[in-house]
């Protein structure tokens, strides 16, 4: 991503020739590579923590087909604030009710995340030639703001309506930067791209290719055939018909709407070097429509007399946010929730391919040099966002471990669920706080003029709704009707 100041904004014809450094120097000093190194170290430690803590006889139990419980020893040291109803303190600490085991003390986990983050990012900052002490001082403030964002998102009613932490992290940052101004001491720790790229490498470990197979042909039809068609069509519509000036804004909105919401928006924005406010705007737009769709779609499906399975598949392929999809599916019934969640999961797996495809397209077609000539292979490699390679590598490595290692599924699940997914969430939260601290309200307001992004979203989502319904009907109600009913009964 880039900043929005006019002298730094980039168009296809204004992309500067990048200063060449050796690959070794790049790998030691560039932010993209440090995102890969940090991701690799964190994933390795998280994996080994689970692997070296396997219960005795694990291999034999797996071979016998038994269900084995695996846990990560890092679990209690990596936490995020929980939900609360009327007392925000309970998000972090809650005394147990007499006779009940409902107490909570997440402070060690929060301190653990702070410690891990300040060390890994501090190391990267130092290697990139910046002052680690100034970074650490600012990071305390950023981390506290991110904690506040999680607490705001954890209120029970807010959580119920899928108003996730990204929104509040942005809001917290925006309020500060547009009222009192971002304090100087925070600025060394405002590192949006660094946090996002590192978070994406961690996210890669959850992009497991075997998940694609969960719903067989029906799942692939809805999530991997319709989605790319909608993504490419919406982007082309935005360029050729609406003539949206910013290609990156067009791409981020298209991916956010067609793939799987905020996570897809983050990955795509980083891959096409979108401006920070473009990512913020796309997420705000998507979450606004998500709240509407998660209420309207279940009611419409019931009114039309659609089956739960068809309704679930339709919502899974169209409602942007993963959590909202499941909540909307549950409003119809258990079968709808299961199908909706599974379809959305298969779309989640598309993130890696989307990020790689967008990065490749951007480097080869959008970022041409001054003469308009396409870059050669060396230039493509030089410009290619390297963190995407880390993301894809994490996905490939853990997909392999999942499939090949005995008990690999249990080990990878424990690693992701009990450590890396929480860290990933924190890194994204830090990133959104940083975006808010660097963004002016005027920069966001300019996207509303003329209404083109809104028209793009509405037209793209309309196409998505039509094509997804058609494919879902064909796959779930006609071709594989009996098989799907047997699966979810």
């Amino acid at each position: 991503m880039t900043d929005s100041t006019p002298d730094e904004s980039q168009t296809a014809s204004e992309v500067p020739v990048l200063e060449r450094v050796s690959l070794w120097k790049e790998m030691c000093t560039k932010e993209d590579w440090w995102a890969v190194w940090i991701g690799a170290v964190v994933l390795s430690i998280a994996f080994l923590a689970v692997y070296l803590n396997l219960p005795a006889g694990f291999g034999e139990q797996v071979a016998a087909g038994e269900n084995v419980k695996v846990s990560s020893p890092l679990k209690s040291w990596i936490a995020k604030p929980g939900s609360w109803s009327s007392n925000p303190i309970e998000a972090i600490y809650k005394a147990a009710t007499t006779g009940e085991d409902d107490g909570r003390n997440l402070l060690p986990g929060l301190l653990g995340v702070f410690g891990i983050s300040v060390v890994v990012f501090g190391a990267g900052i130092t290697a990139m030639g910046h002052n680690p002490l100034k970074f650490a001082r600012g990071f305390v403030g950023i981390f506290l703001l991110a904690t506040l964002a999680y607490v705001l998102a954890g209120q029970a009613v807010v959580k119920h309506y899928n108003l996730e932490y990204a929104l509040w992290a942005l809001a917290v940052g925006l309020i500060i930067s547009n009222t009192v101004g971002t304090p100087e001491f925070l600025k060394p720790a405002v590192r949006t791209e660094f946090y996002i790229k590192t978070g994406l490498v961690l996210l890669g470990a959850g992009v497991l290719f075997s998940r694609l197979l969960a719903l067989g042909v029906p799942g692939i039809g809805v999530a991997w055939v319709v989605t790319p068609i909608v993504l490419i069509s919406t982007y082309a519509f935005g360029q050729k018909v609406l003539k949206i000036p910013s290609k990156s804004l067009n791409m981020v909105i298209s991916a956010d709407m067609s793939v799987c919401g905020v996570s897809a928006a983050i990955a795509t924005a980083a891959s096409c070097r979108a401006k920070k406010e473009e990512l913020s705007f796309a997420i705000g737009l998507s979450l606004s429509f998500t709240v509407i769709m998660m209420v309207v779609m279940p009611a419409l499906i019931k009114a039309l007399g659609m089956s739960e399975i068809l309704g679930g598949a339709w919502m899974g392929g169209t409602i942007d946010a993963t959590g909202a999809v499941v909540a909307a599916g549950a409003a119809l019934g258990d079968q709808a929730a299961e199908v909706a969640a599974t379809v959305k999961m298969i779309q989640n797996i598309l993130i890696g391919v989307t990020a790689f495809g967008v990065a490749t397209y951007w480097v080869t077609n959008v970022e041409t040099n001054d003469s308009g000539v396409r870059p050669d292979a060396r230039e493509i490699w030089y410009r290619f966002p390297k963190f995407v390679l880390g993301f894809v590598a994490a996905s490939a490595v853990f997909s392999t471990i999942y499939a090949v290692l005995p008990g690999g599924d249990e080990i990878v699940n424990a690693m992701v669920k009990q450590s890396t997914k929480t860290l990933r969430g924190w890194f994204f939260c830090l990133a959104f706080v940083s975006i808010g601290l660097e963004t002016n309200f005027r920069d966001l307001a300019k996207f509303l003029k003329g209404g083109k992004p809104l028209i793009l979203y509405v037209c793209g989502q309309s196409l998505n709704l039509i094509l997804t319904l058609a494919m879902a009907w064909l796959m779930f109600e006609v071709v594989f009707k009996d098989a799907v009913q047997d699966l979810v009964k």
């Binding site: 109803s85 009327s86 925000p88 705001l152 998102a153 209120q155 029970a156 009613v157 807010v158 959580k159 119920h160 309506y161 899928n162 996730e164 932490y165 990204a166 309020i175 009222t179 996210l203 959850g206 998940r211 197979l213 969960a214 719903l215 067989g216 042909v217 029906p218 799942g219 799987c260 919401g261 905020v262 996570s263 946010a321 993963t322 959590g323 909202a324 499941v326 909540a327 549950a330 258990d334 929730a337 299961e338 969640a341 599974t342 959305k344 999961m345 989640n348 699940n413 992701v416 669920k417 997914k421 969430g425 994204f428 071709v479 594989f480 009996d482 098989a483 799907v484 047997d486 699966l487």
Partner: protein, 74 residues
Amino acid sequence: MAILAAIALVWLFVLPAIGESAAMQAAIAEREARGIDSGAMFYTDLEMMDDVLARSKQFHREHPDALWIPGSSR
């Protein structure tokens, strides 16, 4: 200060009051009982996916072609 006061008012009073309504409490309790996290950003954030994936795995083991070849399930 006005913005901070407004945030405090909404989060400490308005939202808890909304959450006290019977309908909202029932909806939230049902969602939590099903392991649904409305704020989930990725499928690994959903507790319910463990059971869903276990059932899917079992189904594919028992009916390997059902979701790949039309008409092979029955």
